[in-house]
């Protein structure tokens, strides 16, 4: 027989009670008197339900089922009736769970939990005050014991400086800012207070009622957002195959701290929009296919096209967002099976100048020091980094260091939030980093603040530098970069006289046509000061994506194999051929990402493999990118969501995401972290290494990818700098490369004792070149782009997670109050931004963060996308686009409702 409970039909047996059926199907009904051993008494009346056609409430424990019975357990009336019973029971005694042995197994507690009863209504009730105004955190003032942990952690550890104590004595309570609701405060919802709270006063809103701690399996893994590589614990509801809560793990690099994305942006993995089956484009529409169909089609295409035109018509893109293993798999497939070096990934659009610039100067294209050393430095020199939004956890350390007495200089055209904590904020003009830094170096040398011994002993060409740097007297530099001479001298003095200087930079340096020169100039500066190879010093680029370091390390680059072994070297080729069991690896450097795309229009690129890289949305000048993608003969996209690029794909293959397979990420301080499988992938989604292995098989090469670990081991066998890192060694704590042997402890600091990876440091002569597209009469504004705290990349992860979208639902164009007043624009008005390449209509946000003449927006939102406007001008060395500067024009389109700005320090209006 069948009965319906809450509109779902269930099988039932003769003699079953409604309660039996409900319990079998995981429907909770509170029962306080009934027990299998003591039988049905129907005394407590807590198990009442509503049955259609029967008058009044029925006790489910003794109600026999009838065929076709229609039962409701979740209507408001039923819940109220159940609540009243439990509430009365609660009032009958002093039910305090604090030190009760039954807590966690108590059925009254369970009933209260499931019914949401927090206290008895029949007693002198506490205040009942709650703050539920914020998106992710609930404050229950009645449960607060005023221990001050949250206040301390908010002010001294994550240094967001929101929570504080207000009032006094018994009225003491925690409050946000000057006693405003959390949702209206400057709180960035990092959730650190929730993790530290000893009671139920601060809790995650998302996981409310989703089950309690003991029910979940805890899986330690690594955060899938920015490059910090935070260690997380996923609380997984195995039965539902879902992550319910995320907490930070007390391990470097984050020591338990997380940001809003890491802690609350996890639901994308269980989104119904996930790609679940291979899709093949037939008659302009994507249709579901089997893996065999899809893989056979790809094999066929590669065979015929490559056979006809040679391997170089094939190009592949790895990604900074997928694991090391998958990056290795795609590069090995490209090189060993197709036999071309046309492999690249999205570091091309962000930190390629870092890799090129630092490799040129030092011999290693990665951060020289570790995140934790920030706490030990004397002077933090931040240039071109909006770290409170793009790398929140790194910013916590920086702010901590400043609180503990380190000094900080922040240089950025925009008054980014980290400047609030800086001793000195230096606004320079967009794209003038080279003259600014050269001016500083000149001033340092003029005043003899440079480290003569270091320059003499540890660098190759100090005299050259001293000669050409004379071209940049600080007065001249000041004229170009717009920083007053006095301030430049002040910065130079601070830099020159500090004991330890750590330079931290990000995409404000690299995403220019002079990106590589900018990086080289920073390297020059630190070599002049001699702040390399020591704790608390160094050149520290903040890598943008979770595994952009790893994608480079794995050789998803056109010029190097994994571990940065050049493809042009004969000996290496032989060694790798031997290990891979193939022959005929290409000795020719492959195309870089922009070149691959440009060559599509001339027919030189015919097949593009695109893994986890939303190329259409991430490349500048979207109109042109679309043309190029359209010109391809065959586009394969492996991704977890449909996006702007999958629209053009001939075959779409569903990928697994960060918690559905094992793997490793390498973070911004070269630390290799382990990812663990926590849930099963949706549908037939498969990891990239499996896809590559299958394709390899079909094309006659055994790639030996049987698991993620096997893939890693295959890499490790020919790996040099990562040769000593095994899954076993990084179970609990990551290891920093270089780590050549299995007994090597890892390398937190590069270039120690003045010995650079390349031998001696190399100074590069850098020259000022203006941005590719200067503002003019027609296009008077400079548009700069970046990342917001609440979103990531093209929004596929953050916009498919619950809550982040509510906090920041649409793109805003940040414009300075001066410009806004002149153009009669207020926050909330719609404006049209037009460049020579396209136009978008977007809401304006008038904010002091933008200087006059500069506007800013991001590429998170497909609806108003910065890359429609950005300029496809590239760095001459690495082909990194100039996202940070293009010329646009702004016109007001319509009046909007003015959004109230609450002060300056905020990541949203």
């Amino acid at each position: 027989m069948k009965i319906t409970i809450n509109n779902n039909i269930f099988e039932a047996q003769e003699n079953d009670t409604v309660l039996d059926v409900a319990r079998r199907n995981d429907i909770y009904i509170p029962t306080l008197c009934y027990h299998v051993k003591t039988g049905q008494t129907a005394k407590c009346r807590a198990c009442v339900v509503d049955v259609e056609g029967m008058r009044g409430m029925q006790t489910s424990c003794n109600l026999k089922v009838r065929d076709g019975m229609n039962v409701h357990t979740d209507t408001k009336e039923v819940q109220e009736a159940q609540k009243m019973v439990v509430d009365l029971m609660l009032a009958s005694g002093y039910h305090n769970c604090l030190a009760c042995e039954r807590s966690g197994t108590c059925e009254l507690q369970d009933a209260c939990y499931h019914l949401g009863i927090e206290k008895s209504t029949y007693k002198d009730a506490p205040t009942g005050r709650k703050d539920e105004s914020s998106e992710f955190i609930v404050i229950d003032f009645d449960k607060c014991i005023k221990c001050g942990r949250c206040v301390n952690i908010c002010n001294n550890r994550v240094v967001n400086e929101v929570l504080g104590f207000g009032y006094r004595g018994k009225e003491t309570e925690i409050m946000c800012d000057d006693d405003v609701a959390m949702g209206l405060s400057t709180c960035v919802q990092c959730g650190e207070c929730v993790q530290i709270c000893p009671t139920g006063a601060l809790t995650d809103k998302k996981s409310r009622g989703k089950g309690r701690d003991a029910q979940f399996e805890k899986v330690d893994t690594t955060c899938p957002y920015c490059g910090t590589g935070c260690q997380l614990t996923l609380h997984v509801d195995k039965a539902k195959n879902k992550v319910v809560r995320v907490t930070g793990r007390d391990e470097w690099p984050n020591n338990g701290m997380l940001c809003v994305k890491g802690r609350y942006g996890f639901e994308f993995h269980a989104s119904p929009k996930r790609l679940q089956y291979p899709l093949i484009k037939k008659n302009g529409k994507h249709e579901q296919a089997t893996w065999d169909e899809a893989l056979d089609l790809i094999t066929e295409k590669i065979k015929t096209t490559v056979g006809k035109y040679g391997p170089d018509v094939f190009s592949a893109l790895g990604s900074g967002r997928i694991t090391n293993e998958n990056n290795y798999a795609i590069q090995k497939f490209t090189r060993a099976v197709v036999k071309t070096n046309n492999i690249d990934h999205c570091a091309r659009t962000c930190h390629a100048p870092t890799v090129a610039g630092l490799a040129h100067a030092f011999g290693s294209g990665a951060a020289t020091n570790s995140v934790d050393e920030i706490l030990e430095t004397d002077l933090i020199f931040v240039i071109g980094s909006n770290m409170t939004e793009a790398h929140p956890v790194v910013s916590y350390y920086v702010k901590q260091a400043v609180k503990n007495g380190s000094r900080m200089i922040v240089c950025d055209p925009r008054r980014v939030d980290i400047a609030h904590w800086a001793n000195l904020y230096v606004p320079l003009k967009v794209g003038t980093d080279v003259p600014f830094l050269n001016g500083l170096i000149n001033e340092i040398i003029q005043n003899n603040w440079h480290n003569e011994a270091f320059m003499k002993n540890n660098t190759e060409n100090p005299e050259d530098l001293k000669e050409w740097i004379k071209e940049y007297p600080v007065e001249k530099a000041s004229e170009i970069c717009g920083v007053p001479v006095e301030q430049m001298k002040q910065v130079a003095k601070l830099l020159g006289t500090a004991e330890k200087v750590s330079v931290i930079y990000c995409l404000g340096i690299t995403e220019h046509t002079t990106g590589t020169d900018n990086v080289k100039t920073i390297a020059n500066l630190q070599m002049v000061l001699g702040h390399l190879g020591k704790r608390g010093c160094g050149v520290n680029p903040l890598r943008g994506q979770n595994n952009v370091q790893g994608a480079c390390d794995m050789g998803a680059l056109p010029n190097v194999y994994h571990n940065y072994i050049s493809v042009k070297d004969e000996k290496t080729k032989e060694k790798i051929e031997k290990h891979w069991g193939v022959s005929g690896l290409s000795l020719k450097e492959g195309y870089k990402l922009p070149t691959m795309l440009h060559k599509a229009t001339t027919g030189d690129t015919k097949i593009l493999f695109c893994v986890g890289d939303n190329t259409v949305q991430t490349e500048p000048n979207m109109a042109k990118t679309i043309q190029e993608v359209k010109a391809l003969e065959f586009l394969v996209v492996i991704d977890i969501f449909e996006n702007a690029t999958t629209d053009f794909a001939d075959v779409i293959l569903p990928d697994v995401c960060f918690n559905e397979d094992f793997g490793t990420y390498s973070n911004l301080d070269r630390r290799v972290h382990l990812l663990r499988k926590a849930v099963n992938p949706p549908g037939e989604a498969k990891p990239t290494w499996w896809i590559m292995n299958e394709l390899g098989k079909r094309l006659g090469v055994d790639l030996k990818f049987t698991s993620a670990e096997a893939t890693w081991e295959d890499m490790r066998a020919t790996g040099t700098i990562m040769g000593g890192i095994t899954y076993e060694r990084i179970q609990h704590k990551g290891l920093q490369w270089p780590c050549p042997t299995v007994t090597h402890p890892g390398t937190p600091i590069l270039h120690t004792n003045g010995k650079f990876t390349r031998g001696k440091g190399l100074f590069s002569h850098t020259q000022y070149r203006s941005q590719a597209e200067m503002p003019d009469k027609e296009y008077p504004f400079v548009l700069s782009t970046g990342r917001r705290l609440w979103h990531y990349h093209t929004g596929t992860q953050t916009r498919n997670s619950i809550g982040l979208e509510n906090i920041f639902p649409e793109e805003l164009l940040e414009i300075s109050p001066v410009d806004a007043a002149r153009m009669h624009i207020k926050s909330g008005d719609m404006v049209k931004a037009t460049s020579r390449r396209g136009e978008i209509t977007v809401k304006a946000w008038v904010t002091e963060r933008s200087p006059e003449g500069v506007v800013w927006c991001t590429f998170h939102f497909r609806e108003a996308h910065a890359n429609i406007l950005t300029n496809d001008a590239y760095d001459n060395v690495t082909e990194t686009p100039e996202y940070k500067a293009c010329a646009i024009r702004i016109e007001k389109v319509s009046e909007g409702v003015e959004t109230v700005s609450r002060g300056f320090r905020q990541a949203r209006p």
Binding site: K146, G148, G164, F165, Y167, R168, G169, K170, T172
Partner: protein, 448 residues
């Protein structure tokens, strides 16, 4: 003998010219010619004890000041006089601002503080003007600022107003507040003498203590120590209030008997309308209340004097404390329960909320006392009250917990019958006071 208030009656003494004419800044002249350590030595010799309440020897406090190389030191004058019943500092600052400035200058010189603060109770708004004018005058006349009197010593004094929190009279809470933070007391050690204002070595002294440095300089530490008795040297300001004929601020030598202080015409002039004395809180609201029968004579039957040792004779069982000198007299019409409730309400309101025993405990004490006072109490409440105060005392970061617990403890200790009467006669207690019913034959008949 008057050392501090000697010239208080002179018209215009708050102005520099007149103050100077009456011997002002002579002590400073003398001190600036001495070595700083000699001044500290002189203060040590004088036996001067802190006048803020705790009675810690000032010279010793000064000698604890750490002097690490290259770290500035600070002197902070605690003028956050908020203890109910205490208003001596207000009187001193209002009428003799230059006395304080002179004392601060000498002390700053002795301690090497180039930046000295007066943290003043927010409600004393008009005194800020008085002080600031005095500071300006002192500056014009070369007693503050750069190179004072050609000695090469620089000193600036800043006046900072509090914002109405009693807790900021606690020295570490005061420092937190002065730094611009919430006035929560710090955990000690480290003491301010090692890590005080902005983590620099700091001395925090009461207004009266610092003013007393002037007469010490004038007459010499040795001579100062001979005034008074035993370890209670010098003169003390007492602010008398309550049921007395002449409330006000009196400067006494500390060999004066309590009885004389209350009944002599020179001081309080007895109790109005010839009423009888019931009890007294001799050192500000925090100190234990003493019933009349233990006030004039100690438990041993000796005369009780107005000094540190004599007032605390017998410990808390039968004695009390000198405290800050806020002398509150209660006559036969006063209700001890109501009075205790008022104090409990005050401490509940003023607890910073940092330590749970104080935050929650003061609230409960007030709640229970309110019940008893308003006829809703139970006999067990008195024991509960006793229990709570015992659990607060000594269990908090700063002494506010103690200060809240002691009045309650003493009231129950000496007046338990009155509490019990409130419980047993809930209705009667609303209409009349218990009065002196518990005294067999208590009161002094002395007239001076």
């Amino acid at each position: 003998m008057k050392l501090l208030l000697e010239n208080a009656h002179i018209e215009g003494i708050r102005y520099y010219e007149i103050y100077r004419k009456h011997g002002g800044y002579r002590a400073a002249e003398k001190a600036l010619k001495m070595a700083p350590d000699e001044i500290v030595e002189e203060v040590k010799k004088s036996g001067l004890r802190g006048r803020g309440g705790a009675g810690f020897p000032a010279g010793m406090k000064w000698s604890f000041l750490a002097k690490p190389e290259g770290v500035p030191r600070h002197l902070v004058c605690n003028a956050d006089e908020s203890e109910p019943g205490t208003f001596k500092d207000r009187y001193l600052m209002e009428f003799l601002p230059h006395l304080l400035i002179e004392g601060l200058l000498i002390s700053s010189f002795a301690l090497g503080s180039n930046l000295t603060f007066i943290y003043i109770r927010g409600e004393y708004a008009w005194i800020v003007d008085v002080l600031e004018q005095a500071i300006a005058e002192a500056k014009t006349n070369g007693w503050l600022g750069k190179n004072i009197q050609g000695t090469g010593f620089d000193c600036e004094i800043h006046v900072q107003r509090g914002a109405g929190a009693y807790i900021c009279g606690e020295e570490t809470a005061l420092l937190e507040s002065l730094e611009g933070k919430r006035g929560n007391p710090r955990i000690k050690p480290p003491f301010p003498a090692v890590q005080g204002l902005w983590l620099r070595p700091t001395v925090v002294n009461n207004v009266e203590t610092l003013a007393a440095v002037v007469p010490i300089m004038n007459i010499g530490g040795e001579a100062y120590s001979k005034i008074g008795v035993g370890r209670s040297t010098g003169t003390k300001l007492i602010s008398a209030c309550g049921n007395i004929n002449k409330p006000g601020v009196y400067e006494i030598e500390m060999n004066l008997s309590v009885e004389e202080f209350i009944y002599s015409d020179e001081y309080c002039s007895g109790i109005p309308k010839g009423k009888k004395l019931k009890a007294c809180i001799p050192g500000g609201s925090s100190v234990p209340i003493v019933p009349a029968n233990l006030l004039f004579k100690t438990a041993k039957g000796e005369t009780r004097y107005m000094n540190y040792e004599s007032l605390s004779d017998g410990g808390f069982a039968t004695g009390t404390m000198m405290g800050s000198g806020g002398f509150i007299v209660l006559d036969e019409d006063q209700c001890v329960v109501r009075h205790t409730m008022t104090l409990a309400r005050f401490y509940n309101h003023e607890s910073c909320g940092q330590c749970s025993p104080c935050r929650e405990g003061t609230g409960w004490m007030y709640k229970i006392l309110k019940n008893i006072e308003y006829g809703k109490g139970k006999m067990s409440d008195i024991d509960l009250l006793w229990d709570i105060q015992g659990k607060i005392e000594g269990n908090t970061i700063c002494p506010l917990g103690d200060a809240a617990a002691w009045p309650v403890a003493a009231a129950i200790r000496h007046f338990r019958d009155e509490f019990e009467w409130h419980v047993t006669h809930p209705e009667e207690a609303q209409t009349r006071n218990y009065g002196l019913a518990h005294y067999a034959e208590p009161l002094s008949t002395v007239t001076v």
